[in-house]
Symmetry: C2
Subunit: 409 residues, 2 copies
């Protein structure tokens, strides 16, 4: 195991059981030896599912499979392996996906198209189908209502800590639970920056509404996160709802009685997204960028992500330098409506530039202290509208180069 | 001075005089001590001018000034200082620009709007107007027909070598010359990644046609270049044509008799753009990415630039790793039409992946030798159309972090 990120949470959360969900993990030796590298989630009949996937046009065979399953809106099993991404693997890769779905469908007593699959790891190597097929039998046999941590560990690649979150909500006064776990980009082995996230709830929500809820929360969480601007060929976020909770069945995502659920889903997904930034490759600092005064929320997010992806901004943060000139540069290149003379820049809550220039005589001491810390807060007010958005990232350090410059073999 | 980039050219080209152009440089101590940091180019009456500028929405005062001058299409003087960018400097910055233009106009005997200005260096510090005004008198006094190298040195910031290029062409059988010099992003001091380029010719070309010629060549040269995807607030490319050559006056950019001139202009600008990549911050390898088979030339360029900007691709190249999985990833995220199963990847002239997977048993030895060298050649055929483009970049090394993570003070 590698040293955990200095930004790792002090303790892992305990995830309660969710009625209708069991999870198991196995050690298959796909690439990593002696650690869990495959997880299976089994879902009770009637479970609805929603999913969002990578926008990459060179997506892997498992993503293609899941996209074909999604219109059914039903899931009975999820299987994820780490160590091999099954991307750019041609016919061999597609066959492993087919065989995996059929084998798990047999165990779960369902249609193969109710089995969701993801793979994360090296690109371009044929996946070891025999190991995966043996592993999923073992993992399904081991499945229990308390298998959350083992499942979260099994999907890790270069992550330095498992990432879990949980929240409760009420629908019509009936308590429901949302659990989730995710993986991000960690360190050492390259080609392994895929983001996967799995969310489970006992709420009873039909697939169409579930999809809307997932998409909305996904915009505010995983789509507001960037480590290096590179998009994986395998990114997958799934939300499964078993319907075991005894509230009146939901029909639409916009119903007022879902307000608490929506907030809880946001909370879990934002928590998981932030954990990914905290475990970004080589991360030494966790960075929150709040953009306000943009022409629209969409514009605010775009500006935030451009700033968060700027190598010049990220290296300055790594050095503890409140380099607002680079923030101005990054806002300028985002291509969204901005006005140099209305832009205001704050770092750690201190306004340092506004009205086209630095704030005369601003107090540098608290800003320097803030920049020396682990949690960096940047606020950019564009002064042209009312759109606002928050994005998260990490700094760009030497370890990023070490991690991604190491040879594959 | 810093150690020159390992990719610096073995010798600097000798630039011949261009009738109607004189250049001078001065040491003003704006930021750098004991080196040239201001240059003036004086242009004979009748000189036409074309310009392209940063797309940044937070551009500096000098860029705003030049944009206002351009519709006249005439230039009599250019002044550039290094060490201070005059960006985000409010009213003080605008006043220095006005004073600079007026002072140089007096010396050159022209209208202030025929004086083009650029500044490159630290953002957000008021420019030292007195030093600049004193320096431009000195530089104008020193101006000579042979001042090319000194002018190229004066605009350097973190560059490790001056960047010059020259070419000859014929218009109607009359020889004309094109000279140019540029600066890019070098090392050590941050906030100094502005790209400036100045081109001069004795050809007689009206401003409107000159602008078209410059824009077209600019697309194929400086706009096909990326170091880190960050756009400066001050990027400027100017082309001045003195009209001293005795060919029949040109009317349109598309005239067949300009073919040779267009080629020569391309040659000079591509040469200068490549020199910038060779002096990219921390560069150890010069990278050429040839994209073919795209839906359009525009799509090919976008894919090329996305690949060239990918930190995962750039760190792999730094490590000498022909990591084609990351190339596939970067093509996928570019958002242009692509097909995983038609994509072909070659490195150093060897086809290593095609038809959705690695080429079985391809010879790795020549690829490994190629990746260990200084000049990396990547070819990506998307297999969906006939669009092609070539872009240049450099690798991403520890020195980039060192350079950009150093404190400003």
């Amino acid at each position: 195991m590698t040293t955990p990120s200095p930004l790792a949470p002090a303790r892992l959360p305990d995830l309660p059981p969710i009625a209708g969900v069991t999870l198991g993990a196995a050690r298959c030796g796909i690439r990593y030896q002696g650690r869990r590298d495959l997880m299976v989630a089994l879902l009770e009949p009637g479970t609805t599912v929603a999913g969002v996937f990578t926008r990459s046009l060179t997506a892997g065979a498992p993503v293609e499979w899941c996209r074909q399953c999604l219109p059914r809106g039903k899931a009975r099993a999820i299987v994820v392996n780490s160590g091999n991404a099954n991307v750019f693997t041609g016919r061999a890769g597609r066959e492993v996906v087919q065989q995996t779905a059929e084998a798990l469908a047999k165990l779960a007593g369902c249609h193969p198209r109710e089995v969701y699959i993801a793979s994360t790891g090296v690109i371009g190597e044929p996946p070891p189908g025999d190991k995966i097929l043996a592993g999923l039998v073992q993992a399904a046999k081991a499945a229990s209502a308390t298998g959350w941590l083992e499942a979260a560990q099994a999907i890790m690649t270069t992550d330095t800590f498992p990432k879990l979150a949980t929240a409760r909500a009420e629908i019509d006064g009936v308590p429901v639970t949302i659990n989730g776990f995710t993986k991000g980009s960690g360190m050492i082995a390259p080609d392994m920056a895929t983001m996967l996230a799995y969310l489970f709830t006992d709420a009873a929500i039909p697939a169409r509404a579930l999809q809307e809820l997932l998409k909305a929360s996904n915009e505010r969480s995983f789509n507001s996160l960037t480590i290096d601007g590179d998009t994986s060929t395998s990114d997958t976020v799934l939300l499964a709802a078993t319907g075991a909770a005894k509230h009146k069945r939901v029909t639409r995502a916009g119903e007022p009685r879902l307000r608490d659920f929506r907030r809880a889903l946001d909370r879990v997904m934002v928590d998981l997204a932030q954990q990914i930034a905290r475990d970004g490759e080589g991360a030494e600092k966790f960075v929150t960028i709040e953009v306000s005064g943009a022409a629209s929320a969409r514009a605010a997010r775009r500006v935030g992500l451009v700033v968060a992806n700027s190598p010049l901004v990220k290296t300055a943060i790594a050095a503890g330098d409140a380099n607002w000139g680079r923030l101005v540069m990054a806002v300028g290149k985002a291509g969204e409506k901005a006005d140099r003379d209305r832009l205001a820049v704050s770092v750690g809550g201190v306004r340092i530039a506004e009205k086209g220039g630095p704030v005369p005589g601003y107090d540098e001491a608290p800003v320097a202290r803030h920049m020396a810390g682990r949690e960096i807060r940047i606020a950019l007010d564009l002064g042209v509208g009312r759109g606002r958005w928050t994005v998260w990232t990490c700094d760009l350090t030497h370890r990023y180069i070490d991690i991604n410059g190491s040879y594959r073999s």
